[in-house]
């Protein structure tokens, strides 16, 4: 039977196919094998490995290796311990930078010292659950995945084993970012090039640490011991910690980010699980890709920008005044009480033209 409904679906499908651009030619294994290869050593956040902003030459295969490390991590000044899970030992996992059209070739190692299977889902990749279906590795195994970076932008990657393990692994620290730059670099809304002097990568994580009957955070012997209690706190959707770079205060004091007046800084902000709203206190976002996708023109002059849970965004800012800037999640309760505050220490000349204390605080005059 050929129903009217089927006919309509068929017509719609035909129309859709007709509207699609011609399929790009897909490279063969031989062609990919002939591409130049580059091996990149990842660095711990908030820093990013050295990279060209404008690609030199044609597409390459970029090789990365990450080892998964399950380990207890101290997440605040009170010594609260998270049974952490990490890509390459850091929360967040390190940032990878490639160019659109490059191939990412990742070796994912799950050492025998770990206790659980893990995998990786790249939001930048197409198919197989972002690679998750092809990368599940048990302790003592490793796997190699290649995917083509077909879209430019900042993208989250995270562990996604199965079922309730997925959110648990993510809120235990297993998330990171890949930045796929346009081959000709970043551009403003007019298509003119934007070149950053520095890049910082801020991974925001929220944690759900169970408490004992006195209200103190509990410490567990192992991941397995912590699982049931942690899941209960997670299901309440009220995090106990919201932090940058894995711990409250991780990007403050001696570890505050450094810049100079006049420097254009690219700030990549990633949150794999929950919405957030970065804000530079006393500064702005000159050019902001809220969704992080560079094929779209950047928004300009933002005060606060919105990073959807499960995405990474990018903001360019040129510091105009020296000082100590707080970079916060502008839910200020999360910033101040739960930990989502980082600092920039910016040196340079003060410009009275931009701001001046015309009169110092003093008694209110009484005439």
């Amino acid at each position: 039977m050929f129903t009217r409904r089927q006919a309509m679906i068929g017509a719609a499908a035909t129309a859709m196919l007709a509207a699609m651009p011609p399929m790009a030619a897909f490279a063969t294994e031989d062609q990919i094998a002939a591409l130049p290869r580059e091996r990149v050593k990842l660095v711990a956040p908030p820093f990013v490995h050295a990279h060209d902003q404008v690609a030199k030459g044609g597409p390459k295969v970029i090789e990365f290796t990450m080892a998964i490390e399950e380990k207890p991590v101290v997440i605040d000044d009170d010594g609260t311990v998270l049974q952490g899970m990490t890509f390459n030992g850091s929360i967040p996992g390190p940032m990878m930078v490639v160019h659109e059209g490059d191939y990412v070739e990742l070796t994912l190692v799950n050492p025998g010292s770990n206790s659980m299977p893990h995998n990786i889902d790249f939001h930048a990749a197409t198919g197989a659950l972002g690679g998750g279906a092809l990368t599940l590795v048990n302790p003592g195994e490793q796997v190699k995945l290649r995917f083509k970076a077909t879209r430019s932008g900042t993208f989250v990657y995270h562990c996604a084993p199965e079922g309730p393990m997925i959110p648990w692994h993510v809120v235990s620290g297993m998330a990171g970012t890949i930045m796929v730059l346009p081959r000709d670099g970043l551009k403003n809304e007019k298509g003119e090039p934007l070149t950053y002097d520095k890049v910082f990568y801020i991974g925001e994580n929220e944690f759900y640490i169970p408490r004992d009957e006195d209200g103190n955070f509990k410490t567990y012997e192992s991941h397995g011991d912590s699982y049931a209690d942690t899941l209960e706190v997670m299901k309440g959707l009220v995090p106990t910690h919201v932090v940058f770079n894995g711990a409250k205060g991780a990007l403050t004091g001696d570890n505050a980010m450094k810049a100079k007046v006049g420097e254009m800084v690219l700030i990549v902000h990633s949150q794999a699980n929950r919405d957030t709203r970065p804000h530079i206190i006393g500064g702005h976002g000159d050019y902001v890709w809220e969704e992080g996708k560079f094929a779209n023109p950047p928004a300009k002059d933002l005060e606060t920008w919105f990073i959807r849970g499960g995405s990474a965004g990018a903001a360019l800012y040129t510091f105009l005044q020296p000082g100590v800037y707080a970079y916060v999640n502008h839910n200020l309760i999360e910033a101040v009480e739960l930990g989502a505050t980082a600092h920039f220490v910016v040196e340079g000349e003060w410009r009275d033209d931009l701001m001046k204390q015309v009169e110092a605080p003093g008694p209110i005059p009484t005439n």
């Binding site: 000044d77 009170d78 004091g253 001696d254 020296p322 100590v324 000349e349 003093g362």
Partner: protein
């Protein structure tokens, strides 16, 4: 035998429990023993004044004045959690936000109002006259452990306020120690040369001195001052200023600086043991201190 003892203890617990519930109202209740005090002899002290100072419209270092401190008596230990809980049980103090812990620890998680309430209650139940020390008395009693202002507050570059912000930020970062907020048993940090225990440990101590913002003259004198008694001075490893209602040092700071790990207090005893004239001088001194800028 074991069974008998167990039964005996059950029995006595059953008998004692209702008595305890009535305990504090019972007229036969013995007065609370007064805490041990240390007499701080009269001394002359170079004292960095608490508060914030401005000269020529810019932050200035706190002036240090030479102060004559009359002899006074101060508790050897910080007020204990157990004693504070007696005040709370009597309904005279609000329950402290103290960390759940064991042993003879100082009370923590108390604000300035709590400390004032405790001093009133303690004066009643011990038949003594107890009060918070002034910042000057706290400094005098702390002796070699007095922290005061750890970081120079003066402006480094009149044309660039950020130079000072960044310098202070770096100094504070360098001075930061791993947090150790767990209250320690009283006596853990040991006595100073006067025999006063635990000053400069992880419990900062409330004083009766108000925060003030002072504009200095070119000669360093006081041109004007605005006192804010909604904020009081705490002395400890470094000086801190906290709103009267704050119980958690981490949430009370208004700057980027390193916050106190815990807020507690000790008391000064104004009656007995000291010559009446010295006690009067001490009292007068605290009053003068309170109004010095108003």
């Amino acid at each position: 035998m074991a069974i008998t003892l167990l039964e005996a203890s059950f029995t006595s617990a059953a008998l004692v429990a209702p008595a305890l519930a009535l305990g504090l109202q019972a007229p036969s209740e013995p007065p609370v023993p007064a805490a041990e005090t240390v007499t701080i002899a009269e001394q002359v002290l170079d004292f960095p004044l608490p508060g914030e100072f401005l000269a020529d419209g810019r932050p200035a270092a706190a002036p240090t004045t030479r102060e004559d401190v009359a002899a006074f008596r101060i508790t050897k230990h910080q007020v204990s959690l157990a004693d504070y809980q007696r005040c709370a049980a009597a309904g005279a103090c609000a329950a402290a936000d103290a960390r759940a812990t064991h042993g003879d620890v100082p009370v923590t998680g108390v604000n300035w109002t709590d400390a004032q309430a405790y001093a009133r209650w303690y004066s009643e139940v011990t038949d003594g006259k107890w009060r918070l020390p002034t910042a000057l008395e706290a400094a005098a009693a702390a002796g070699e452990r007095f922290g005061g202002e750890s970081f120079a507050a003066g402006a480094d570059d009149p044309g660039n306020p950020a130079v000072r912000w960044i310098r202070r930020y770096r100094e504070e970062a360098a001075a930061k120690r791993p947090a150790d907020p767990e209250p320690k048993p009283r006596g853990h940090y040991g006595p100073n040369s006067f025999g006063v225990e635990d000053f400069g440990g992880n419990v900062w101590e409330w004083t009766s001195t108000c925060y003030s913002r002072v504009t200095l003259t070119a000669e360093g004198g006081v041109e004007s001052a605005v006192e804010n008694c909604g904020v009081h001075v705490l002395e400890g490893r470094h000086r801190a200023y906290m709103s009267n209602f704050v119980r958690d040092g981490k949430s009370g700071g208004c700057a980027v600086g390193t916050p106190p790990e815990n807020l507690g207090f000790r008391l000064v005893r104004d009656d007995g043991g000291l010559p009446a004239i010295a006690a009067l001088k001490a009292r007068l001194r605290s009053v003068i201190d309170m109004f010095r800028y108003s």
